[in-house]
Amino acid sequence: MTDITKLTIAETLGGLKNKQFSATDLTKAYLKSMEDNRDLNAYVLETPEVALAQAAQSDAHYAAGTARDLEGIPLGIKDLFCTKNIRTTACSHILDNFVPQYESTVTANLFNAGAICLGKLNLDEFAMGSSTENSFFGSTINPWQYERKLVPGGSSGGSSAAVAANMCAAATATDTGGSIRQPAAFCGVTGIKPTYGRCSRYGVIAFASSLDQPGPIAKDVRDCAILLKSMAGHDVKDATSVDMKVPDFAAVIGQSVRGMKIGIPAEYRPQGLNEEMVGYWDKGIEMLRQAGAEIVDIYLPHTKYALPTYYIIAPAEVSSNLARYDGVRYGLRVDGKSLDDMYINTRSAGFGKEVKRRIMIGTYVLSAGYYDAYYRKAQKIRRLIRNDFIEAFKLCDVILTPTTPTTAFPIGDKSMSENPINMWLNDVFTVSVNLAGLPAMSLPIGLSADGLPLGLQLIGRAFDEETIFKTAAVLEKEAKFERLK
């Protein structure tokens, strides 16, 4: 039998139903793969006992004929999702002893659908970063060309690396400015950031609440569709989650894109953009044209302001959300002479460099005298960015762009470590989507000349993930991208 860890979720569910292998066999195979690939540093915690107990239950469900939608599917969980009685750290020193007493809604939905928890996956501290280098547990290594020691992207770099290296069937992830799509692109896997409000944020450790959205990273488009269906849904515990029927996303896969309008934004083709990336983008456009879609030029004139807007709004929300880490109720405590000293000592020891940088920038832009010039101004431009998309979607059904300007870069890259803005530029094509609250997927389209994956991004109207899935499936079929073996 071929290695069962290489199967997609759709194939795995078939194998489990037909008794080709049991959930326990499958789980053991993944646990073995995790052990063999420990040098990638994708998992910050492995939970074999939990996984095998859940697998035994799944096998009982199959035997009783009561299998649920994801029965026996082993998943990796980004360590930003609170998991009951399983250590959850956000890869921060300030939470490295935190054991949640409750379960995030998204992971609860997945486990209630029969999924299995293999362990917790690495990320940039509090999901702030584009490389996982900001993790308290050290960088994850991209499984592509391991010897080159490249980043897997971030913040969901543990998720993308684990999926690419077949260390889980799929993974949960979150996306605030590109944290699902950029790592998916760097590791040659598929990920979707759903519409803001599609998945509950309850129990997902907060970064920037008006932008954060959980979603899946998986081996292909169909697997993303299968997972998202189980993850999504209204939740009274998250006031921003939307009460709307969750469609059967996988049902649209295989449908024709004939007559559909594909928007190509001129602003995403800046001078000096990586030529290979441009080449693959043009190839993607051609694939959709051949499939009968109409290609339409669109304009998103405020695109160049998206990143600076984001770097006011996100840090502002960070400074507020991370005020809760004070050494009193949970997490690290470093004692001091007074209560204030204790707060300062705890936070100074507990947070890493990038997190401190964002807390301080956020504090500044919200402080008296600067609020209107920075925060208020950014909120106004956020509306203009959203309006750009509203206008564009009058002309097209879905937008096709590159996911990232480049392929994965080496760990410790000087230009990025010396200038934070260079690191932030990784999200130049992904961040507008978060500001506008729209759904967007990254899927692998091909390899660069030196053999690294490149991704294309599909952006849809709010709550129209189905059009993204339909279009992505057509591109995937044509691209014939070969996953890592």
Partner: protein, 95 residues
């Protein structure tokens, strides 16, 4: 807007973070660069544009004003660095 060392100290204080003395000048420089970069937003005309703070136009749903969960002191205190008699313990704040 130039960020000086005084401003860095002020932001650090408001953030409850310590910036070591030898890092203050470097931090001021770095923040200056970042704020200069975000400063390009000032070239956008935002007259009559309403700020956008939430992307979904949904009304907040109010639940019934009643107790849904309670009596979980042990769970709430489970991760407390220091707890005694069902309370969180903090350094003395009253002389």
């Amino acid at each position: 807007m130039a960020i000086d060392t005084q401003m860095v100290k002020k932001i650090a204080f408001l953030s409850h973070l310590k910036v070591e003395d030898d890092k203050i000048a470097g931090t001021a420089q770095e923040f200056d660069k970042i704020l200069d970069w975000v400063g390009q937003l000032s070239e956008v005309d935002t007259t009559d544009v309403r700020p956008l703070s939430a992307v979904n136009d949904i009304d907040l749903i109010c639940r019934k004003d009643e107790v849904t969960e309670g009596n979980q002191a042990d769970k709430i205190l489970k991760n407390a660095p220091v707890a005694e008699y069902d309370y969180f313990v903090v350094p003395k704040v009253v002389e």
